[in-house]
Point group: C2
Chain length 274, copies 2
């Protein structure tokens, strides 16, 4: 490790970390520099384990020791709690932030080819806007045995700070790719042998737990609020739903949030994959 | 409606709404005054429908019309978008906020007595700290036919602003009560005929979807991070888990977030209740 003590929150060496609360600023900063931020010891270890090179680490004296064994020759900026809070824009409780380099994502084609025979479970996220939701869904997908995730071109970035944090690092343990053609996206999945199931709150669709699931299944999840686009709903092989309580529907509680729906759906998919 | 136009964000008439981002301030303000905030037309309508009296409404000219039919003789403070953002501390997208009065909660005993015969499903939340999680869990519980929710004495408040918002108003459609004795809490549930199941990530516990569920089941969910207390784990009739992927466990993704776990569990409970 190369330790550098920094006492000024506006020190230019800390720009990778500046104003973490500002979503727009961070999105452009991260895209421009090809970086992302990992927060807390556990997540940083997973990011390193997944092969992401370290640009630098920002931490305080108190937390430095916990990461010493994995940091190699990385540059570590050591600051006070006050400077840490000043840089981030809020108090950072987990003690360490790492600025890491992104790795090139595989194409959807490459990803699909890498999924060899046997039952395979894909999750396909269309235009989710909320990074916490994307992170939470990756965590469920990883825990429940989903083989890979495919993102629509406009879906929120799984490596954005909040997504990484909420996923607890699961974004590093499950493979994913981003479509470059939304309109043709489902056709590409079908050509690779995946049956596409569109998840909808519509209770007249087939309940997911009653569907005879084939070997290769891609479950499509739509955006918060609007759900799946009509194009994907029409293109999909079948619309499926999660059964809800009739009493709840009658009282107007007529949908689940996307994290809850994804969890139930992944659980059903795992069960059917045996 | 009594319309009052307000141009100064620090006007004392707006104190119910001030600094909504400040969790500690709001918790004390809401407790002290016995109020809570509902955000957006849909949620405000549900709160009114559940019988909560309106203290006042804060909105802009543009959104006023959408609520006109339900506001009765309520006082409505009409402000510009800028004043709205100044009061809240951030831009308010849903156009209307209502300060509403809380209603007395039933005791746990009264709540349990109100659940007559037949299969009954209770969710019991122990010390959840995150209001968004509490709101999301109420939404899943309501949609998936849970009959009622019981909160531990220290569990986060379902009527806190974020919880109400994330629940989409489901906190008004499902009955709940708060225990006043954490230590004796499970005994009280058992005495009312509920079998208590402690949900744990421990994969050596009985998978929930393989448990023969009796008529009256109370599922216990623990706090983010720490999970259930050892007291409740030991006191419960049985420990249950949600099956996770063996590969995921091996790679360190060894738990679900509490919203995902609750959704899967409620779904399993609903299925077994028929």
């Amino acid at each position: 490790m190369v330790l550098e003590y920094v006492t000024d929150p506006s020190d230019p060496r800390l720009t990778d970390y500046t104003r973490m609360r500002d979503v727009e600023l961070r999105k452009s900063l991260e895209a421009e520099r090809g970086l992302f931020l990992a927060e807390g010891e556990k997540v940083i270890r997973r990011a390193i384990g997944a092969g992401h090179p370290i640009r630098s680490v920002l931490t305080t004296d108190r937390w430095l020791a916990s990461l010493r064994d994995v940091l190699g020759d990385a540059t570590v900026y050591v600051v006070s709690d006050e400077v840490m809070a000043g840089v981030a824009g809020f108090p950072v409780h987990r003690g360490a932030l790492a600025s890491m380099e992104r790795l090139p994502l595989p194409s959807v084609e490459t990803l699909l080819k890498s999924l060899a025979g046997g039952p395979r479970r894909l999750l396909v996220l269309e235009d989710l806007a909320d990074h916490s939701n994307v992170g939470a869904i990756f965590r469920s997908a990883a825990a429940l045995g989903v083989d890979a995730v495919v993102l629509s071109p406009r879906c929120a970035d799984p490596l954005y700070r909040r997504a990484v944090k909420v996923s607890m690092g699961a974004v590093f343990s499950i493979r994913y790719a981003r479509m470059d053609d939304w309109f043709r996206g489902l056709a590409q999945l079908r050509e690779a042998g995946f049956r596409t199931l569109a998840l909808t709150p519509d209770q007249t669709a087939t309940p997911l737990d009653a569907v005879a699931l084939t070997e290769r299944v891609a479950l499509l999840l739509g955006a918060e609020g609007d759900g799946l686009s009509s194009h994907w709903l029409e293109e999909a092989d079948e619309a499926v739903c999660i059964r809800m309580s009739a009493a709840a529907m009658a009282s107007g509680v007529d949908s689940l949030n996307v994290v809850a729906a994804a969890a139930i759906a992944c659980h059903d998919l795992m069960r059917s994959a045996g």
